[in-house]
Symmetry: D2
Subunit: 256 residues, 4 copies
């Protein structure tokens, strides 16, 4: 079955040697990066992966990868790295068809990763108590073409709880995730996972102790380090530059 563009899809416009440009398959003229404007109306219902001529140059137009989407997130603050996002989603049991609650929305980078991974049959509810974060996250999710899978809600889950049930996963990128764990447990379906991301060992320690005392099973705590490799003329070696730390991940399972 041939893959064709639908109106509202996100696409990547790319020519060799240039960075990928995130676009929308939409009617009318849109601005693209800092490079100009384009009208992709004609691509609606056309096959994905065609060559496009724009400003006299040939571009390919294809579906974005998760990496493309994360690279396109406009960030207010620090956003979660891809290595942490994919591992956190793994720990939290997020996959195609999952129903997920996330708090906080932050700049929406993690929201984009979850929305990508749950696929068209899944759904994400993203909570934040701050209107400005919700607006930023919503804009980033829209640019990623994933709005139909995400509900944004202004709510402080630490005090008001998560008023959902039967969830596959609860993903917490909050300073004090332990305040949300009781509520997360109630919101999860049996076998569901909560996954947390916190920068300090103090937060991690408190989170893990809370997971255990609340009866979560399969409690895990870890960090993921990514080390780049440089293949050059003189040989191969690890990259000199490396992120020494991003955050610690923890997870626990309901009814387990």
């Amino acid at each position: 079955m041939e893959d064709r563009w639908r109106e509202g899809d996100a696409g990547i416009l790319k020519r060799p040697g240039s960075p990928p440009l995130l676009v929308r398959i939409a009617r009318g003229v849109q601005s693209v990066g800092e490079e100009g404007a384009i009208d992709l109306s004609g691509e609606i219902d056309q096959p994905v992966g065609r060559s496009i001529t724009w400003s006299g140059t040939s571009y390919l137009l294809f579906r974005p990868s998760l990496g493309d989407l994360l690279a396109s997130v406009r960030r207010g603050a620090q956003i979660v790295t891809a290595k942490d996002a994919v591992h956190l989603l793994y720990l939290a049991g997020v996959g195609p068809g999952a129903t997920v609650a996330e708090a906080g929305a932050g700049s929406g980078a993690l929201t984009v990763a979850i929305a990508f991974s749950v696929g068209p049959q899944g759904h994400v509810t993203s909570f934040d108590r701050r209107k400005d974060f919700l607006a930023a996250a919503r804009a980033n999710v829209e640019r990623a073409g994933l709005s139909d899978r995400v509900t944004f809600r202004e709510r402080d889950v630490a005090t008001e709880g998560i008023d959902l049930t039967g969830l596959t996963s609860v993903v917490l990128d909050l300073a004090e995730p332990w305040n949300v764990l009781t509520s997360a447990r109630e919101a999860l379906a049996p076998g569901g996972f909560v996954g947390t991301y916190t920068p300090t060992y103090n937060q991690l320690e408190r989170t893990v102790r809370a997971l255990r005392s609340l009866g979560f099973g399969e409690v895990r705590a870890l960090e993921v380090l990514e080390r780049g490799l440089h293949v050059g003329e003189g040989g191969t070696r690890p990259e000199f530059e490396m992120l020494g730390h991003t955050g610690f991940l923890a997870s626990g399972r309901k009814g387990s």
Copy 2:
């Protein structure tokens, strides 16, 4: 929309403090781990997440996470770790709806991870030149309830190539991935990725040089390290045990 079991689904049978047991929602009696036998006919069309009484003990029956599925893979040889699997799938652009070719099938652990991640709309074609590996991989994919998304084929892609086109991703877990890169490029759709997993720096170096010389873009090479954290009575520290190495990952993109 309530989540209900369909015949053929994989499920997890779990009671607190015991390891998860992988079962099939199927008609008739099946053996479960080394613990006995069970008939789950009655669960077909029932809601997911119910409590089951088996041998006088109460169990929960819920959908497996990717972690459950990887833990249930029966292995002939070393299998890829979860940290590498999820990061390799990220690099290779695998997500819901993707069409993926994989070689070799090995014991099927990576096949299971890909099949899980592409969801019901995606598809995996898994190649191996060895009949015994294909049989083992097929059995593991069947146990994971993911057979309808996977085609197994006996074929040496190093010499015979990948006779598919328009793929989202090509994932190579082979000793000499460079032999397959020309064929992988032809099989990929524009914007598609090849991702490789190899244990030695020598293999990584040769793979990266081949990716570049064949015109792949966005070439990346890295390794992922996972460091467990121990939260104990006396405080928190990294775990003493750690895998010092598993493999190096590389990726490149077609038309980029």
Copy 3:
């Protein structure tokens, strides 16, 4: 100036392919490992590095490296690894001629490393509140031929303090090093360093906060990871086995 054995020196007896055997250049018969007995009286005043015939086999007899000495320590408990010992000595400013206080003595592994590094002009005072640890440490230091540089003292420095002054370095391998830092500062000469080794984040945090509040300068906190490399037939890769964690190091300087 030719290097000659003096009575009481430690030596290494070695033949290719066998592990190094720690011996004493001493009068009379001594037992060597589990391999038998030897009389090295004849080596006193002879040049270092000669070939020796023992039980019909040719051995070399040479001076031990620090690695030989650490490998020969008989351990009651976990001992500090070489990577941590050499880095801790660096942070604590230990070098030839240094005068060092150490607490606790433990099994004496760190004592041996310090005594080796301060050379014949330096001195180590090693405190422990437990007689059994002092006895074990003394035996290990004697076997290393370094007794003339070490004074062992039964004393609980956490409650009784370090009754020395003008020290180059204070090295603390204790569960609660913060209890000794005030006393360590008084014992140090201007410009002297205290260095600590502790397993958990919690201990490290408390140590660093105490160093700062007590006015130590140049406060550092870090960990050292050693990753082995395997050069085999099939290529080169990091070793699969690795210590995921040993301990955290911290240091501070007096009058700085």
Copy 4:
């Protein structure tokens, strides 16, 4: 025995909150950092560790640690980090009293570390084929007050060999250390070690293979990673900044 300054010693001038300043205990006025000039003639034969008034401010004057000396090295090129220097010296069996050959001299950072560690009874011969490197290294060793332990020689050890014998250690910081290993083996005393430092996997692999084929024993290959820890208001975590790679270390032992 009180520690007193001797003419020619290196000292550290320090006040709280300012970086350490490397000075010479010498007759006449010397420039200090970019901060001015000082005459320390009066300190000769005085006790180490006294308080000095300079430009109306009180300073302490004490002996430099190895860390002080490495921090004071004026560098033409990249210099070896402290973590690698101390571990390489450990692997190469360098300690008080050792006689060591080093090649190349480079900027002299490693020379300083070796000269510090061998103490007043040891000696270092540092080879380089380039006059400019030798001049830079000599200047750095002089500033460290360690000139009396170091001989600099213009010589290409790869082609001309190391014309010394009975050495404790040979330390190689060269692009092609394998060219010097035969010569290093001849120069070493029985039980002596060669230690190498190289940036790439390819160099490491070739070095290890050469060590083995030349009959060196106890061959080791590893890398050392240092991860800083941040103790802040909000808690404790690894530092975000980290050197992802510096170099690989290898070592082998003669007659072993």
